[in-house]
Amino acid sequence: MSPAVINEAPPSEKKLSLYEASTQCRNWRYSTERLAQIRATLNEAAVTIIRTKIETDEPGSSRNVSFLTPNEEVLLVKLYISKIGQLCGYFRFPEEVEATAITYMKRFYLQNTVMDWHPKNVMLTALFLATKTTNNPISLEQYTTHIPKTTPNDVLDLEFLIAQSLGFEFAVWHAHRALWGIWLDIQNLPDGAALASAEYDAALARVRASRLTDAELIYTPSQIALAAFSLVAPDSAARWITLKNLSESATLLAVLDEIKSMIAHQGLPPDVESVREVDRRLKLCKNPEKVVGSKAYLARKKEEERIAEEKRTKKAELQKAAVNDEQDPFGTNLAPKKGLVDYDDDDDDD
C-alpha cells in the first residue's frame, strides 16, 4: 500500500501550482475595471468623511476645498514609488526589497487613501517592513539616521497599519524572478547561449519600469517578465513561447500586448511639477483627524483616552476581585474556574 492512504486527501481535488496557491494570486489580482472601481469607492468614501469633519470643524469651509481624484491619488503614490528605488540604491538593498516595498505601497493604497495617510511616510515604513519580510533586516536606528527628518517613531507608527492593510500577507512573487527564470531557460535553447547579457539587463529595466504601473495587480509575474523580454528580444521571446507550446495561445499574445503598452505608456516616473500641484492641494484636503494639533485630531485623541481609561478601571476592578478571591484560605477554586478572566493579560484588548 502506498503512503497515500495515510492522509485521506480527496483525490479529485485539483493540485494548484505554487503561484495559484499563493495569497498574491488569490487576494491581490484584479481586473482593470475592478481596480478603478476600488479606487473610486475609497476616494469617494474618504471625501465624504473628510468633508463632514471639515464642516464640523468650521461650517461652510469645505465648499472651496478641491479634493483629490482617484487618478491624482495614484499619481502621488507613483511618485513615491519611484523614490523607493533611490533609497534602495543608497542602502544597497537587494532588488527583492525594492520590489516588495513597491508592492506593499500599491496594496496599501487599495485599502487606504492618500488623504488619510501621506505616501511619503507610508513609503518609508513599507520599505522598512520589506527589509524584514525579505530577510534583509537592518536596525531601525541605522535606517532612520540616514533618512533626513525621520525618527524611528515615524516609521514604527505606521508599521502595524501597513501590516494590517496587507492582511499580513507578506510574501510576494516578483516579475524580476520570473525574468531570471526565462533568461536561464533561453540560454538552454540551441542557440540561446549566443544572447548577450545586455538583453537580460535591458529586459530587467523594462520589468523595473513595469513596477510604476498597475501590471502586477492585474497580470502574473511571468506574463510581465515575458512581455518585458519580448520588448527587447522579440525573437528569443517567440522561441521561448514555442518551446513552452504556447504559440497558439491567443490569450497570451493579447495579454503580452496589453502589458507592453502599459510599460510603454505608464512606466515612467510622473512629472514632478504636476505631482507638486496635487501635493499642494492634498495639504488642504487631508483628513483633519490625522493632522497633529487640529481640532478634530485632539477630539479623536480625547475620545481614545476616555475609552482606554474606562478599560483600565474595569480591569483594575477585576484584578481586585481576583486578589480577594485568592486570599480566602479556603478558596473555592479546587475545581477549575469557569469563564476564566484573563488577569494575566498585559493589555486590555478584548
Binding site: S2, Q111, N112, K132, A163, F168, D345
Partner: protein
Amino acid sequence: MDAVEKANTERQRRWVKDKKVGEGTYAVVYQGREASTGRKVAIKKIKVGQFKDGLDMSAIREVKFLRELKHQNVIELLDVFSSKTNLNLVLEFLDSDLEMIIKDRALVFLPADIKSWMAMTFRGLEFCHRNHVLHRDLKPNNLLIASNGELKIADFGLARDFADPGYKMTCQVITRWYRPPELLFGSRYYSSAVDIWSVGCIFAELMLRIPYLPGESDMDQLKTIFRALGTPTEEEWPGHTKLPDYVPVGQFQKFPMRDLFTAASADTLNLLSKCMIYEPRKRISAREALTHPYFFALPNPTFPSKLPKCSTHFSARPLDEVDGNVQMNSTGPGVKARSLKRKLTSSDDGSEGRNRSIARRLDFSKHTPGS
C-alpha cells in the same frame, strides 16, 4: 474608524480567548475558540511593543510562511489580527506534540506507528521544500499532533525561503541535537538537506525513545555525531575540512546502526542512514524519501486516528506549569515559547503533571499574589 481598523476589529471579534496555556519570552498562548462555531483554536499573542525594531523577525517569518502554506501536515494559520501593539495569530488547536508522545512511557510504539509519523512528517516537509521554504527548526516538539492523530509541522519562526546559490545564510539555526554537521562546521550555504538531517534524528528518536544525538555543546555535538556515525572521511564528504568553522574532533569508528536499532528492518535502517549522510548533496530529499521502499514494505503505516495518543494534553495541563513566576518550559498548543530547553527527566511525566497540580492547590504558602 478607518476601514482597515474596522476590518481588524471584526476579525478580532471572531475569536475568543478562553485561558492562558503558555507563556514565552515573546509570546503568550491562549486556548480559545471561534465565537460563531465554538471550534477550538490556539491564539498566540506576540508582544510587539517591546521590540525597538518594530514587528520582530520570528513573528514576521511565521506569519509570512504560514499565510502561504496550506497542507494537511502543516499547522494552519486561521487568522491574524492585532490588538494595540500585539499581534495575534489564530492557529488550529492541536492537542499534543511528538515530544510528549515519545516521553510518555505508558505508550508502546509499533513499527507501523513510527512509519505513519514519518510519512506525515515527510509529506509536510516535502510540501514546505516544494514551496521553497526551509523550516530550520525541526524537532519532536515542533511536530504537533491533532486529536485525530494527524501530525502537523509547526513553528516557522526560523523558516526562510531558499536563498539563491551563492547567497549567504546564517548557520545559527536548528536546535543543537537536530543540527546537521555542515551547520556545526559553520557552512553559510546550505539547502533543504539541513531539515532532512533533523528528520533523521527524529526518526531515530522515535525508535530509541530518547534523543539520538544529545550533544552538550556545539563541539560536543560534533563528537556525539561522529561517535555514532564515524568521523567523515574526505571521500565520504568532500571538502568538509574547508568549511569555515572546521575543527578536527578526533577519529571515531562508525558504530553499526544495526547494533543500536536492534529491532529495525533493513528498509528502516536504509532510510535512516540516507537521512544521515554526511555529504548534504547526497542526503535523501523529502520527495525521494516518500518513495523509499520503507513506505511500501509491510507493515502498512498506522491510520492516524489509531496512533498512540498522549494521556496528557496541553489543555489538561496544570496551570502552574505555565503561569506566574514559574520558569516556562512547557509548550503551548500550536506554538511554543522560544529558546526552550528540553527536560531530560522523562521517567514518569504523564503522572507527574497531575500530582503536581494537586499538590499546588493544597499548598497555600506558594501563592503568588495576583497570579
